[in-house]
Amino acid sequence: MNAGDEFTAQQALGEIGRVGREVRRSARWGARYLVALGVGVGLYWAIVLFADPGLSLVAALAWFAFTAWSVVYACRSRVYFPAFTRLQWIVTGFLLASTVFNMWIRGYVREGEGALPVLVGLFGIVFAAGPPLYGAWRGQAALGEDKGPVA
């Protein structure tokens, strides 16, 4: 809006819509982060629970690098959206709970025989990866619903 000090109601509503869209576009990075988190944590536990034990060290190092990047990303973030701010605590809670659960079942999944340990391991992976992926979807959906006064 390049108007000087005079602008119409239509221009004002148009500017409100434009700025809102521009701001909400920035929220895509929050959703992308949650998708990366979900995929990353799913791969991590898949390796820890099912893959060769030697790969666990690689997975741990990769997870450490991702965590370090997450801290940098959080510090460099220049805007916070209510939708993602609410979700982060829920996602964090599920990540902690899934970490405890997967550490608890790890021995059973690795050393057990039959289908049940495999199913338990798969559940552990979904338990860890599901909440961030769901959070990404819910966060984007919330931003889409909250179009403000003008779409």
Binding site: M1, A3, G4, D5, E6, F7, T8, A9, Q10, Q11, A12, L13, E15, I16, V19, G20, E22, V23, R24, S26, C75, R78, V79, Y80, F81, P82, T85, D146, G148, P149
Partner: protein, 110 residues
């Protein structure tokens, strides 16, 4: 022609109804809080112009300014106060009334 004050334009919030301040409030209404540079880049104004209008909004009680540091880098965070959100919602309602009264076109220039 007499002016009886019944037109919705008389209820426009003068604090918000200025181009740059409207953009600031509209941007902050969509977020929990935003950093100064994000706002500057989104609205496309200079640091000094943005600062000037933020002071006006802060003095009106519409915007909260929080300063801090991330490492050695100073950061300034801006957010709408509850009063600011209510004022913005009321402002948008007035705009929509003006649009409805004029049948989609508007003559409510400030």
């Amino acid at each position: 022609m007499t002016i009886n004050g019944s037109h919705p334009r008389h209820h426009l919030d003068e604090i918000i109804h200025a181009p740059v301040r409207l953009s600031i409030v509209a941007a902050l209404a969509a977020v929990k809080k935003a950093e100064f540079r994000f706002l500057r880049d989104t609205i496309e104004v200079s640091d000094s112009l943005l600062s000037k209008h933020i002071v006006t909004l802060e003095e009106a009680g519409y915007v909260r300014v929080q300063k801090g540091f991330v490492g050695k880098r100073a950061r300034t965070w801006l957010s709408l106060t509850e009063r600011g959100r209510q004022a913005f919602d009321a402002y948008v309602s007035v705009l929509q009334k003006i649009m409805n009264n004029s049948g989609g076109t508007s003559d409510a220039s400030h």
